[in-house]
């Protein structure tokens, strides 16, 4: 799947998720923030991820975003007691580069990372999961 096709798929599924509770999805774009702009709930995000997993035949395990943000940084340097360190916060901001910097709280709890995601970030997550899947399916 091309980058554009993945983004289109994610946008369509975001609209589908919003339609469950009769919310308008016309303005959804790559830059839309799920929780801030589109009023996503945790259940909406779960619904969206289930749908993307099913459609793309991928799995996006819990903690994927955390793992991508942390990269090769040692766990102890990335976060302590569930709160991202300064360096960890910087890594997250690099990963979610299309989220306005002003939105990132000073203290970011690890459980709240999806709240900073744009639609584009979810598309990149899908892209990553497809890439991870490819070697084993070939």
């Amino acid at each position: 799947m091309t980058e554009t096709a993945i983004l289109d798929l994610v946008i369509a599924q975001v609209r589908e998720t919003l339609s469950v509770t009769d919310r308008e999805g016309d303005s959804v774009s790559s830059a839309s923030l799920l929780f801030y702009d589109l009023s996503f709930t945790s259940m909406d995000l779960l619904d969206l991820l289930y749908r993307l997993e099913q459609l793309c035949e991928i799995t996006i395990p819990e903690g994927t975003l955390y793992g991508l943000a942390r990269g090769d940084m040692p766990e102890a340097s990335f976060a302590a007691e569930g709160v991202l360190s300064g360096a960890g916060r910087a890594r997250l901001m690099r990963l979610l580069h299309d989220t306005p910097a002003a939105l990132f709280a000073e203290r970011i709890h690890a459980a709240t990372l999806p709240r900073y995601c744009t639609v584009g970030a979810i598309a990149r997550l899908v892209e990553h999961s497809l890439a991870v899947r490819e070697p084993s399916s070939s």
Binding site: V20, M43, L46, D47
Partner: protein, 252 residues
Amino acid sequence: MIPESAWGQHGAVAVITGATGYLGRALARGFAEAGATLVLTARCEAALGRLADDLAACGAPIHTVAADLTDPAAGERIVEVALTRTGRIDALVLNAGALTDGLVAALDSDALEQVHALNVQGAFRLLRAALRPMILARRGTVIVVSSSAARRPGVGQAAYASSKAALEALVRVAARETAGRGIRVNGVAPGLLDGGMAARIIDEARDRATAAIPMGRLGRAEDVVPTALFLASPMSSYVTGQIWGVDGGWTA
């Protein structure tokens, strides 16, 4: 008499746990007679086979899965089998349960843990697994078998009553979380039934318990089935997060 079609079970798939027990067998028969395709689970494969034979006359397709819900992988496996064989799960009836008596002051913590391992954690894991296809399908009903002991526990029921109270909280939370996805989660809370777990109660205690029930008799498994069917049916389409007592007035 409510016509069979009103239960809305034709073409529906019902997964029932603890299916070979006193109440489970009646639930299985009730759903089969209402036209549902059944996926029955219990620990003993042979007992499941006998139950499937008993229900064959109902004409409903029956699938069985031998599973111990205290196994952390059981919930996922049951859902996988149900989806592979039937393609859908419309109703999940969480009926499996265990009971251990003991005064709080003397209750072994392992005994408490064992009861919760099945009644709460086993039910939770299967519920969690089944919610995924229900969320994707934007429909589904869950019926959790609680007990009047959750509201009106007796002496010695610390493990059992606390597990059922936890289940009732789970019903309310799950109902709130999934209501927007077309899923309804409710509980049915039988009182003392004249069979199954209560069968071991000594006669004298049974007489005392019976005398304390406003309707003057112990319940039967068949008393519980219509409420479970109602909660699985479109007739209860605006009902979620509720616990329905079926106890002859015991908790009134």
